[in-house]
């Protein structure tokens, strides 16, 4: 980047020793140069800012944040979903990772085959009563913090089924985001994942433990 330099050679300033109004002007120009991110040349230029200029300099260069929100920002931009397709919704889930939707744009492309490496489970399809304990075990094996998305009507409310075989996912595990549809289009799943990102970024306290009154049940070594 070409930078405008301030120095004696440019005819913009004079040595600081010349004093008076000239000196003030040099100092002011040097300060502005510093504020633009430039460096000063010459040995006898003032190398530091003071007072209001220093405040302004610091404010323009630092982003104040808390560690919590920085961590939440990092987490929410790199979920590792568990590859767990249960039925036809899984086809749409695959397509979400495919070239058209390209979930990798947001940093969620690392679908994991092991619950130990995942922090997001997308229940894509209908959950049968016989499958429920297995899903619950997978969810328990995921490391905290963890989130869950229930994708499609079957998983949220049993959809078109009202029979002995199925159970809605909320009955046996906490769900953060429900994505409606039968099956939801990849856009809808994308929207759901981005909703989850919003949740994690803006309101990291709204984890499942808080919502289900389970604070203090974390595993301790």
């Amino acid at each position: 980047m070409k930078r405008e330099r301030v120095g004696p050679g440019d005819g913009l300033g004079a040595p600081a020793a010349s004093g008076g109004a000239e000196n003030l002007r040099v100092r002011s120009l040097n300060a502005h140069q510093l504020l633009r991110g430039g460096e000063l040349e010459g040995a006898n230029q003032p190398a530091h800012l003071e007072g209001e200029e220093l405040e302004r300099y610091v404010h323009e260069r630092l982003v104040f944040t808390t560690l919590d929100s920085a961590v939440a920002w990092a987490r929410s931009n790199s979920f590792f979903p568990l590859a767990f397709g249960l039925a036809c919704c899984a086809m749409e889930q695959f397509q979400t990772a495919g070239p058209r939707m390209d979930i990798a744009r947001f940093g969620y492309e690392a679908f994991r085959a092991s619950p130990r490496q995942a922090d997001l489970i997308i229940l894509a399809g209908r959950v049968s009563i016989k499958m429920a304990p297995i899903i619950r075990r997978l969810y328990d094996q995921m490391l905290e913090p963890k989130w869950a998305i229930s994708m499609g009507a079957c998983c949220s409310s049993m959809g078109v089924f009202n029979n002995y075989a199925l159970v809605p996912a909320d009955k046996f595990m906490p769900i953060d985001v429900h994505v409606p549809g039968c099956p939801p289009r990849p856009e809808a799943l994308m929207h759901g994942v981005l909703k989850l990102r919003e949740l994690v970024q803006d309101n990291p306290e709204a984890g499942w433990r808080e919502r289900y009154g389970a604070v203090g049940t974390e595993e301790r070594p």
Partner: protein, 165 residues
């Protein structure tokens, strides 16, 4: 399919085991006595029906005898099909297993047991196959209550909670 006459002849050969021969819409069905199911299937196998295509259950509620088990047989050289049907009462829904003769019947008899509650005597491993092991009842029986887990939507959550109190 055997034609109507052929079916009558087949039923005649089965003797007292055959209760009824039905030829309906091009489909041949022999209703047999549950006590003779093994010999009936063995006889039909010798007649060329060597492939047991399917075993499935039916609930004829409110008729009696209520439960039915169907064996679909196929003669692959003549491409000829025949169905063997037995009817079982609810009081004693027990029938001989044909798994020793037809290994393919293994899982299908387990399924009929699981869903309709028909007990196959002599089956090597009669357990539930589709429903969880600790499930109670046989869900495809007609008198099994329809509807599974009730779903609470946000809009009627308060009604639910009131009803529970």
């Amino acid at each position: 399919m055997p034609d109507a006459t052929g079916l009558e002849l087949l039923a005649h050969d089965l003797g007292e085991a055959a209760l009824e021969a039905v030829h309906y819409r091009g489909g041949a069905t022999i209703v047999v006595d549950p006590a003779h199911i093994r010999t009936v299937l063995q006889t039909l196998r010798e007649r060329g029906y060597r492939f047991l295509a399917s075993v499935h259950g039916v609930d004829y509620y409110p008729e009696e005898p209520r439960l039915g088990v169907l064996y679909e047989l196929l003669d692959m050289s003549r491409v000829d099909r025949i169905a063997v049907k037995v009817r079982l009462s609810m009081d004693d829904p027990v029938i001989d297993s044909v798994t020793p003769q037809w290994p393919t019947a293994d899982h299908q008899e387990r399924e009929v047991y699981d869903i309709f509650g028909v007990v196959f005597r002599g089956h090597p491993d009669l357990r539930r196959i589709l429903m969880p092991e600790d499930y109670e009842g046989h869900p495809q029986r007609r008198d099994f209550p329809i509807g599974g887990e009730p779903v609470i939507f946000t809009r009627d959550e308060s009604k639910w909670l009131e009803a529970r109190e």
